[in-house]
Structures are given as C-alpha cells and as structure tokens.
C-alpha cells in the first residue's frame, strides 16, 4: 500500500495534474478552432503518470518524451507561455517555432525533448543516464514510451544496454490501450508490457496510472535504486487515452464501454476529491490553485496568439552551432 506523501507533495501532485488537464483541454479547443497548425496528441486521461513520475525529479534529472509530450513537459516544469507559443509556431516558442507540439524541449530543465518517432527517444534518455554514470553524479533519466512503442527495436537496444551497464534510467510505459487506431491486443502478444523487464533481469512494476500517488511511489523507489547504482527499472502505468490518437480522430475504433469506466477513475478529479476529503486542501485553496493555472493559461494563449511568427529566413538558422 502506498505510503501517503507529505501534504505539500500531495498538493504539488494535484497542481501538476491540473496544469496538464487544463492546458490540454485548452489546446484541444484551440485546435478545434483551427488556431493551431499541424496536429496535436493530447495527454488527457493520463495526467497521473507524468505528474507522479516527474514530481520526485529534480531540475538536474532528465526526461525524454514522446509524440504525446505536453504532459511530460508541464510535469517537468516547463512553462505555458513558450509551450503555447510553440504550438502556434511562433518565434517565442521553446523551439522558436521550429519544433511544434512533437518536439518541445528545454534542456536547461532536463527536458530532452518530445520525439515524433515512437520509442526513438529511449536511447537518448539512456545517454543522459550514461553521462551521469560516467561523471559519477546523482542524476537519473526517465524515458517515457507508449504501449505501441514497446514493439520498436531501438527501445530494446536501449533497455538491454541500460540493463547491462546498470544505467540510472527509468522506463515508463504509458499503456493507454491504444497505439494510434489499433488496440493493444492486436499489437502485442502479452497484456502486461512490463514483462519485457524480465528479459533483462530488471525490476518491472505495474502501477495504476490513474493513481498519482501509486505512480509516484514506484518512481521514488526506482529513483532510489538508480541513484544507488541498482540500475534501471521499468514501470508500466495502466492508463487511458480520453481523446483520439490526434485531435480530430473520429475514434470509431474505440470500445464504447471503456471510456465511461476510465472516466470514473479520473486521476485528476478523484485526487482533488481525495485531497479535499482528507482536509489537505480546502475548496478555496483548490480554487486559488486552479484560478492561477487558468490565468496563467489565458495569458499564455494570448502570448502565443500575439507573438510574431519567426522571420522566414530563420528557417535556415539553427541547423548547426558552427557555421563553416
């Protein structure tokens, strides 16, 4: 049974989830209003995973992310303004408009990037962990990947290498039961994808991704192990994708019965209720938190909307550090 974290931690977990929930909801609206170019993959329903895994990390720890990366960015401490601006493709975005939704990164905060190729960021996380190991410092790397992505070869190479070298890396499989429009069962021979940890003699943990404290506890343990030279851990969080694969996806392939059940297990609302019930938060305090988030968010939307597009010539800059 999960040991209850300190009150401040619990509030922080809720705050991060609310930030993600509100951000993603707003992005969904902006997208529906044709305000955003390209496509977006929303993290709604899965907030407990990003919040629970990132909260115990320090700024010097690393994460690597996926095409569904907004939640990880927010949970790791990235700010709304440059995130929204990036979604708009504006100069003021984290990537100056060059990356967009699938490539938001802020290396100064240890966020080594969302990544549009499934599982392709897992070796990158391994490299950050390797840097820690060589330098003998305490930093760990958390690498997220989806259920579908576990089928990719480079993930196995990364996991195998991390296990062989006992790298301080934590793999977090977000099993949201779909890879694009295809059900998990169609794509995998097993239900519990964490079984792959066995192949490399790694600890593998299944957590309820809708329970942020359970996610956090498993992560804290994994971090502890990693920092003590115990090598990687694989955490599989069972969770659900409320939205389509991308916004606009008609979702005809989804099982009608699933969504209501998962909605009942909503990680954000239930946790809010829990904190209110436990007296950790009053309604007022909760209102203050969400008001601040919403205000921040609207500021960010205005910022993104009003920021200038990059100069077209900027397209030719930033490929290299050094012009030759």
């Amino acid at each position: 049974m999960a040991e209850t974290p300190a009150e401040a931690t619990r509030v922080e977990l809720l705050r991060r989830m609310e930030r993600i929930r509100r951000f993603e909801t707003r992005v969904g609206e902006l997208f529906a209003d044709n305000e955003l170019p390209g496509f977006v993959h929303l993290y709604l329903g899965t907030e407990g995973v990003a919040a629970g895994t990132c909260e115990p990390l320090s700024e010097d720890d690393y994460i690597t992310s996926t095409h569904r990366g907004h939640g990880h960015c927010i949970a790791k401490g990235l700010e709304f303004k440059p995130m929204v601006a990036e979604l708009y493709g504006k100069e003021t975005g984290y990537c100056g408009g060059k990356g967009g939704s699938m490539h938001i990164a802020d290396v100064t905060q240890g966020m080594l990037g969302a990544n549009g190729i499934t599982a392709s960021s897992t070796p990158i996380g391994g490299g950050a962990a390797l840097a820690s190991q060589i330098r003998g410092n305490d930093n760990v790397a958390v690498s997220y990947l989806g259920d579908g992505a576990t089928a990719q070869g480079p993930y196995h190479e990364a996991l195998h290498l991390a296990a062989t070298w006992e790298l301080p890396q934590i793999y977090v499989i977000e099993n949201n039961h779909y890879g694009e429009m295809t059900n998990t069962e169609v794509q995998h021979p097993v239900t519990d994808l964490v079984k792959q940890a066995d192949a490399y003699d790694l600890p593998g943990v299944i957590v309820n991704g809708q329970d942020v404290e359970e996610v956090r506890e498993a992560t804290v343990e994994a971090i502890e192990r990693a920092r003590n030279g115990g090598g990687p851990t694989v955490i599989e969080a069972k969770t659900y994708r409320y939205e389509g694969h991308y916004e606009g996806d008609p979702q005809w392939y989804k099982d009608d019965e699933d969504l209501p059940a998962w909605r009942t297990a909503d990680p954000v609302e239930n946790y809010r209720d829990e904190l209110l019930d436990d007296g950790v938060l009053t309604e007022d305090e909760y209102g203050e938190i969400t008001d601040e988030i919403d205000a921040n968010l609207e500021e960010a939307v205005a910022f993104g909307r009003d920021s200038p597009y990059p100069d077209p010539e900027a397209a030719y800059e930033g490929v290299y550090a050094e012009e030759i």
């Binding site: 170019p37 390209g38 408009g97 699938m102 694009e180 429009m181 990059p310 397209a315």
Partner: protein
C-alpha cells in the same frame, strides 16, 4: 501537344483522386493474384493513415490485410522473407521518415539479397511509403526521402504525381519481380485526374513529357509537378517551359530528359528532398553527362536547402519549393 497531366487514351475514363487510384491498384492486384498481401501499421481496420488501403480488409480478410505492431524492421523484413518464399507482399511504412527503423533491412537485405545469392532469387516486394511536407508536421514527419532509396542498388524507385501514374505504376510495382520502393506524397493524395476505366499499367522506367515547350526543360516530381505546371503557366508568353515527369527515379529515364534538353538547352530539376547528395544531384549529374554539349546554361536544381523541415507555417513555406521559386529559378537561366 501534351499540355495536360491527363493521359492520351481512346477508351472511357473516370476522374478519381490519387488516393482512389492507389486503392484501385491494390484492389485489382489483390483480386488478380492471391500471393499479394498488405501489411503495415493501421492499414487494415483503419484503411491506412492516408486511407489508401480503405476497403481492403473487408474484401480480402485479415490474413491478407494485416495490422502490424509498430515495428518497421519487422514489417519490411518479414515482407522480404515472404517475398523470398514466393509471396508478393506490399508493405507500408506510414511516413518515409520512419524508414530509419527498417533501414538495415532495406539497405542490406532488400537491395542486396538477390545479388549476394547469385542473382537467382525473385524478390517481388513493394514498399509503399509517404514523402512530403507542407502540413506543419515538423522534421520527423515531413521529409522527402526517396534519394536514400535511389542510392541503394537492387531497389527500384517510383515517385508518382497523378492518379493515372499512381494506379498504373503501383500495379506494375506489385507485379515486378524486384523490390520497388514506391513513394506516395502527402501533398498529392487529393489531386484528381482522369484514368482509364479499362485495366492498364504504366511501365517502370519511363518518364513522361507532360507539357511541351521549347525554351527550358523542367524535370519535376511528386507535388512539384503541379508547382511546375503553375510556373509554366506564369511564364507562358515569356519562356516556353517543357515539363517532364520522371515517374521512376531508379532507373531514371535519362533519354527522355536528355532529348528534351537537346531541344531546350536549359534544365531545372525540381524535387522536394534536401539537396545534398540527392535525387536532384543525380538528375543534374546525368543531364551533365548526357546533354552537356547542348547546354546553354548551368543545370539548376531546387529542393529543400539542406535544412530540416520546420514546424511553423511561414518557415515551412520558405523551405519547400513552389511555383514562384521555379519561376525565379527558370528566369536566372535567361
């Protein structure tokens, strides 16, 4: 004088999109030959990310229309193995950007196996994939990568622009006994055009002169073919543009291109890959070899100027060539 992308045919035709043309091609070939099957991510239930395989699952069932895990090396590698065992597989790589995961299979097995085994083994594998930017999909979902396939021996490379070519060349690719890397293009799927109602194929390895002109030869592929048409219209009266659609890039029908340059004395090659060591470089090199003595000006090329595809619309528009760029480039030759 052919000044239209619609083929000259005496029979009945219908207007369809490139997507429909590709659908028809697979339908017809799967109906014609039991050894043909399709596998890839979301190709069955969903009918493909670009709807190209819509309807196939219903018609041919789950044994022959297969949703795979997200495993491009396995998708291509098992396709190759099935081809070696006598099947005629079509495998889909959703975006050409994802070919990196399968690149060892492509480079070291698909392209080399026949030769390494002494030339004896037919490998009728068709790899379908999608090139092209323009949708703010950023650097990992917008590349145009057929140059990489062109560099590899043992693999034929097809790049289509029109419904007529899409259907006719996909059918030929499926029937072909060598591996064919068939590049669709995100910006071309919705283009419409006439195709014969009767069954037909378009041979691999033949370019088409799609617009006759006397002043300059523009060789243009995929979506660039439409940009070239717009450019030619814009230049009409000033410079008379001949347009060639290579359709197959490996082998390149250099004879048709060289004949045109023989007539015009000038050439611009327009294609969407980054320029360095690209399809464009190759076309320039071959034109230089075959038509040097007839050139009145350097051969020009357009493409993405060796930068990744950026997300932001104004940046992306900047880097992908369009009709204006072609007009400007053509004018530098006079």
């Amino acid at each position: 004088m052919a000044t239209t992308l619609t083929p000259q045919t005496t029979g009945e035709t219908e207007e369809i999109s490139v997507t429909e043309a590709l659908q028809q091609a697979m339908h017809e070939e799967m109906g014609r030959d039991e050894d043909v099957f399709l596998q890839g991510i979301d190709v069955a239930d969903r009918g493909g990310s670009f709807s190209v395989s819509e309807g196939l699952l219903d018609e041919f069932g789950p044994e022959r229309v297969r949703d795979t895990p997200i495993s491009e090396a396995a998708i291509v590698g098992t396709g190759l193995g099935a081809a070696a065992a006598g099947m005629r597989p079509i495998v889909e790589i959703m975006y050409s950007d994802f070919m990196g995961i399968a690149f060892d299979q492509i480079m070291n097995n698909v392209g080399l196996m026949r030769y390494m085994f002494g030339g004896k083994l037919d490998l009728p594998l068709t790899i379908r994939t999608v090139d092209g930017g323009g949708f703010s999909a950023a650097a990992q979902h917008s590349k145009t990568l057929h140059s990489l396939a062109m560099h590899l021996p043992g693999i034929r490379v097809v790049c289509v622009s029109t419904p007529y070519d899409a259907k006719g060349l996909l059918k030929s690719s499926i029937r072909h006994d060598d591996p064919v890397f068939f590049f669709e293009h995100a910006n071309v799927f919705n283009r419409k055009g006439e195709v014969p109602v009767e069954e037909y194929t378009v041979p691999i390895g033949e370019a088409a002169v799609v617009r006759e002109g006397s002043d300059v030869t523009v060789v243009a592929t995929q979506a660039m073919l439409y940009e070239a048409f717009d450019a030619a219209e814009e230049l009409a009266g000033e410079i008379d543009v001949e347009i060639i659609s290579p359709r197959t890039l490996d082998p390149l029908d250099i004879d048709t291109i060289a004949d045109s340059v023989d007539k015009t004395g000038r050439a611009v090659v327009v294609d969407e890959p980054t320029l360095s060591a690209s399809a464009q470089s190759e076309m320039v090199a071959q034109i230089n070899e075959e038509a040097f003595w007839r050139l009145d000006a350097p051969i020009k090329r357009l493409g993405v100027d060796n930068v990744p595809i950026p997300f932001s619309p104004p940046l992306e528009q900047e880097v992908i060539p369009d009709a204006d760029d072609i007009v400007a480039e053509v004018r530098t030759l006079f």
